[in-house]
């Protein structure tokens, strides 16, 4: 039978999974010591939990979640800035957002969802272009799109901003809180706070940025990396490739997800981002500012920056008391180590963002009842 690499079934095939698993067990036996593989993508975190991969891996191979969930890495101060938009919402301002952001609590545990219950005009959209449509249909109101995300989301929103320039929509703006993956990896390696032996690199982000931005991992840090897709076999194969690099003592950069990722990335997306954004020292939750780790609107597009338009200043806000989201993001603790986990903090009554976002590590552990 011909393998259909584009059929979802192929990437879940239990026979192939078992073959890869046998290899993983052999390699892990040879390596002996405990290996920490960090996945830096929330979609990986979810896929790993949903397919139950952790439970079938050898005991000395640990998958730990890193700062890969866009909502979770948004600093508590930035979340407060977004929620503070609801104070001027209602008759004059419409807040549009992806669903993920709705329930994320700010420092006072107030969320956009709660602001909506209390009368703010908050609308969930599925595409940032829908927000522009809302702006066009409501010319007497301001419409803000909550822009949060990595290199995957950023190009789409850059296009949206360009489109609103084209069609002359001036009552539309964006909270430009985009974050970049490679600077976060460098921060993790420089700070040495978590023991990381290899990175399972994000498939979709890499489809946008290509391979090159990861070159420093091997060159400067001798750090094994594999760009992997999101089906169970992608992830298993990614783990196998990483263990092979570790076992051979030759760290490299493997691309398991070659059916979607090209060396040069997505040229259109890259050029759009270059046009609309400039880098800045983004604030990361529980980490603080990381040099040149974010994209913000720049040049002629700066006037679409909602924070500037409505004079919402940067804020420094303490993490919620006892919340371990920061440590979870850095791979220092597993979600169930937090004493709020599944008690005061659930997806409906979250204390920290990792429990709310559908890509958050705490949400994955809660939803899929993980123990390990």
């Amino acid at each position: 039978m011909k393998n259909n690499y584009f059929s979802e079934k192929y990437w879940k095939d239990p026979t192939i999974a078992n073959k890869i698993l046998r290899e993983i067990f052999l390699l892990s036996k040879k390596i002996k010591k405990s290996i920490n593989i960090m996945e830096v993508c929330g979609t990986h975190t979810m896929a790993i939990a949903a397919s139950g991969i952790r439970d079938i891996l050898p005991n000395n191979v640990n998958l730990i979640s890193g700062p890969g969930c866009p909502v979770c890495v948004t600093s508590a101060g930035d979340i407060d800035r977004i929620i503070s938009l609801s104070d001027i919402s209602g008759d004059k301002l419409i807040i549009t957002t992806f669903g993920d952001m709705l329930k994320v609590p700010g420092s006072g545990r107030k969320s956009l969802s709660e602001a909506k219950v209390n009368g703010a005009d908050v609308r969930v959209v599925y595409s940032p272009m829908d927000a522009v449509k809302i702006a066009r249909d409501n010319p007497s109101k301001e419409v803000v799109f909550v822009g949060v995300g990595f290199e995957t989301t950023a190009p789409l929103i850059a296009l949206t901003v360009m489109e609103s320039v084209n069609i002359n929509i001036n009552n539309f703006s964006v909270t430009p809180l985009f974050k970049l993956v490679p600077p976060a990896l460098r921060f993790l390696l420089d700070s040495k706070i978590a023991k990381i032996d290899a990175f399972l690199l994000p498939g979709h982000v890499s489809a946008v940025i290509g391979y090159e931005p990861y070159d420093f991992l091997v060159k400067e840090y001798n750090m094994p990396g594999t760009i992997a897709g999101f089906e169970p076999l992608d992830i298993l194969r990614g783990v196998e490739l990483l263990l092979r690099q570790i076992e051979s003592g030759r760290p490299g950069l493997d691309v398991e997800y070659s059916r979607a990722v090209k060396k040069e990335g997505n040229k259109v997306a890259l050029s759009v981002m270059k046009k609309v954004y400039g880098t800045y020292d983004a604030q990361w939750r529980a980490i603080g500012p990381i040099k040149n780790s974010g994209y913000t609107l720049s040049g002629t597009y700066e006037k679409y920056d909602a924070f500037k338009k409505f004079a919402i200043k940067e804020r420094k806000v303490e993490e919620p008391a006892g919340c371990l989201c920061g440590k979870v993001l850095l791979g220092l603790v597993k979600p169930n180590a937090c004493h709020h986990f599944a008690k005061g903090c659930t997806p409906q009554t979250p204390i920290g963002p990792c429990m709310v976002s559908s890509e958050g590590a705490c949400a994955a552990w809660y939803k899929y009842g993980l123990k390990r």
């Binding site: 397919s51 439970d55 995300g149 890509e359 899929y368």
Partner: protein, 335 residues
């Protein structure tokens, strides 16, 4: 409860709905019949047994591929009666209409209700009409209640589920949830995804005449994940289903992947889960597959002897994880 105002999630059929029912309604209304918390109440008059149910319909948009609010309002109540083994006899319909609502739309909805009622063989025998000011309702809300007659020997209850029983699913999951989401937000997802909205009394009566079943559940909001958790907690045993056995059409599966929605928790309006002994299950499955609303029926799991009331999912690659109760409405993700 950790909130002081009603959240949308309180009505989404997940954990928060259960919480409101327990903490607010059951606390005040509790009685022997209500506390069963199944799709219909069973009223036993000695010589006659009746199933009685009610449901309000508040779907947005009112018209979507595969159905409309009127069709759901009839089918939903017919199905709630049928899964208790009742023959639907009569239903009521009460309309709450927003001022300014187009008459042609109302007529369309009513014609759709008539068609569904005809197909189900049930009479609409009483009703009510209220109109509220513009802005006080979302177009139209419909409530239907229904009564059905249960044959004396038929006794269907989740508490009868035992280890070794199998779970039969009557067809492909999540079509309704995805179809409505697609229509509501103009997502433009192609692939002819239509709501599965249908009256299932014909399908159910076909196998119920011949074979004993332990329980039948109408899988609506909260999806299969919700009703399996309810069944596990009612019968006290754990249940295991297999990911690879779950029938889901390719377009629906792809749409769910794209939106970050789990089809196991997505809404259906024409699907049931049947719990029956392994021996009867094969025969029931055959009968289902011969019916127009059960063509893609499949056995998807079984009841375990473990007394933990947990639900497990065996994943495609052979791992096993817990299938928890859904939390609230599913929100599409960022990337």
């Amino acid at each position: 409860m950790l909130y002081d105002k009603i959240l949308l999630a309180c009505g989404s059929g997940g954990r928060l709905t259960s919480e409101i029912i327990k903490e607010v309604f059951l606390k005040n209304f509790s009685n022997k019949i209500l506390k069963e918390l199944e799709d219909s109440a069973v009223l036993d008059f000695g010589s006659t047994k009746l199933a009685f149910t009610t449901d309000s319909y508040v779907v947005n948009p009112l018209f979507f591929p595969g159905g409309d609010i009127g069709k759901i309002a009839v089918c939903g109540t017919v199905n709630d009666l049928s899964v208790k083994g009742a023959r639907p006899y009569a239903i009521s319909c009460a309309f709450i209409i927003e001022e300014g609502f187009p008459l042609t739309d109302l007529k369309k909805i009513v014609v759709s209700m008539k068609k569904a009622a005809n197909e189900a063989g049930v009479l609409i025998v009483t009703g009510d009409t209220k109109v509220v000011e513009r802005g006080k309702a979302d177009g139209v809300f419909i409530n239907t209640s229904g009564v059905g007659i249960i044959e004396k020997k038929v006794e269907i209850s989740q508490s009868k589920i035992r280890p070794g029983d199998v779970v039969i699913l009557s067809g492909e999951l999540a079509a309704h949830g995805v179809s409505v989401l697609n229509a509501r937000n103009n997502l433009g997802i192609n692939g002819d995804i239509k709501s599965d909205c249908a009256p299932l009394n014909g399908l159910i009566s076909q196998f119920l005449k011949k074979y004993e079943v332990k329980s039948i559940r109408d899988i609506t909001r909260g999806g299969l994940g919700m009703i399996l958790n309810e069944a596990a907690s009612a019968c006290k045993f754990s249940i295991e289903i297999e990911e690879d056995l779950l029938p889901i059409s390719d377009p629906v599966k792809n749409a769910c992947l794209m939106l970050g929605i789990d089809p196991i928790y997505a809404a259906n309006e024409g699907k049931i889960a049947v719990f029956a002994s392994e021996k009867n299950a094969q025969e029931i499955l055959k009968l289902m597959k011969n019916h127009r609303y059960g063509k893609r029926a499949a056995i998807v799991g079984r009841v375990l002897s473990e007394k933990k009331s947990k639900v497990y999912l065996k994943t495609s690659i052979g791992a096993r994880r817990i299938l928890t109760m859904p939390e609230g409405e599913q929100l599409p993700r960022i990337c």
